[in-house]
């Protein structure tokens, strides 16, 4: 787990990012998300489409910004993070691609606000899996799917270059 402060919205609280591997109850989590279970006030993200924490922070900053200006496109700040990760404005497609599916085994969680240790202990009761170091993002990334989703040229294989283009697509979407 790592925690960050958004320079533009320090009063909103810390942003906590966690990675879980070998998750066995994704289907159950997804069902609870779809029924708007208030206990799941987290962004659950498919780890296969995450390359770096910076990608998550840019999407989270956008979501908190839109929350502040009352211009959220989805129900709450956490679903907005998942939606913002996608470069398209199709909400259901964005949530399907960047959110968790029934078969997900690697899950990234982003939490806006709250105490770091309380977040972690609460998540340990929700998620059946092993917490991993968030430096391991790129090892679980599905590069070819990410290229498809972010419309990145096949010839680009440098991960830094990919991340730059991904971050740009996320930033440009929220400006339209």
């Amino acid at each position: 787990m790592q925690s960050f402060t958004l320079e533009l919205y320090p009063k909103r609280g810390q942003i906590h990012i966690l990675l879980y591997k070998n998750v066995t109850n994704a289907a159950d989590l997804r069902k609870r998300l779809l029924s708007h279970d208030q206990e799941l006030s987290y962004a659950f993200i498919n780890a296969k489409v995450v390359l770096d924490k910076f990608q998550l922070l840019v999407a989270t900053n956008d979501a908190v910004h839109h929350e502040f200006h009352s211009s959220l496109k989805t129900h709450n700040v956490h679903s907005e993070i998942v939606y913002n990760l996608s470069p398209t404005t199709n909400i259901s497609e964005s949530l399907r691609r960047f959110g968790i599916s029934d078969s997900s085994t690697s899950i990234v969680v982003v939490k806006v606000g709250g105490n770091a240790e309380e977040v972690r202990s609460h998540l340990s009761t929700l998620i059946h899996g092993d917490e991993a170091d968030i430096k391991e993002f790129s090892s679980s990334a599905d590069i070819s799917n990410m290229k498809k989703y972010y419309k990145i040229d096949d010839g680009i294989n440098d991960q830094k270059e990919m991340l730059d283009l991904i971050v740009g697509s996320i930033a440009i979407k929220s400006s339209t």
């Binding site: 320079e7 924490k53 910076f54 922070l57 900053n61 910004h65 283009l165 440009i172 929220s174 339209t176």
Partner: protein, 219 residues
């Protein structure tokens, strides 16, 4: 504005700061309101320019031109957050770096990079709008040519607009860098080699040279 932001430049359209942003260092470009304009009109125009700048910047980046990476567009506060590029400004290299002033090979290398970058910018119909040697940089890490400041950029497929873009650059070359005619000719040569539709632009450039940047409105 971010607490630790440092003002580094104030122009006619915007203030430029550097600030820590989401674990990195960002350039923060904040357009300010023009008090001589009607507030409602000013808000609309500023918002439009901010989006336009971000779009042109990212369109170029996507098509292989090195530009600062876009981090965040804050329409409500007319501010763009982007990568802080470590490097040298081309103008400073040509004015003060002896290697560039005396070494023909160095100049040719630079001309090639500029020509290719401009070819790519124009190939996706982006008109930079303020092409000067102050808005071109060399990235410290890999010596790649970075195009910056898309504040006056817009989208146009017209050879006329692209020719004016080149003409503005030619003017800065001739006025701020003495004996640079040859280097600018090299830039155009690389531009031509790397851009399929360059012929129309270059013949327009000849027209623009005769009449200047502004089109004659007579007749």
């Amino acid at each position: 504005m971010i607490d630790n932001a440092i003002l580094i430049k104030q122009g006619a359209e915007a203030r430029i700061y550097t600030a820590p942003f989401l674990t990195r260092t960002a350039i923060v470009k904040e357009r300010f309101s023009k008090t001589y304009r009607h507030p409602i009109l000013d808000k609309k125009l500023t918002a439009k320019r901010v989006t336009q700048e971000a779009r042109c910047l990212f369109k170029c980046r996507k098509s292989g031109v090195d530009t600062p990476v876009l981090y965040f567009v804050d329409i409500e506060n007319s501010t763009i957050y982007m990568e802080f590029v470590q490097g040298m400004i081309v103008k400073d290299l040509l004015v003060a770096d002896n290697e560039y002033i005396t070494n023909k090979k160095k100049q040719d290398e630079l001309a090639k990079k500029i020509g290719i970058a401009l070819a790519r910018v124009h190939a996706v119909d982006v008109i930079h709008g303020d092409l000067t040697t102050s808005n071109l940089m060399l990235r410290e890490s890999n010596q790649s040519l970075v195009v910056i400041d898309f504040g006056l950029s817009y989208i146009s497929a017209l050879p006329e607009d692209k020719a004016v873009d080149l003409y503005v650059l030619e003017k800065t070359f001739l006025s701020t860098h003495p004996n640079s005619e040859e280097m600018f000719a090299d830039i155009l040569e690389y531009y031509q080699k790397n851009y399929e539709a360059s012929q129309g632009v270059l013949s327009k450039l000849a027209e623009v040279r005769l009449r200047g940047r502004k089109r004659s409105m007579v007749g």
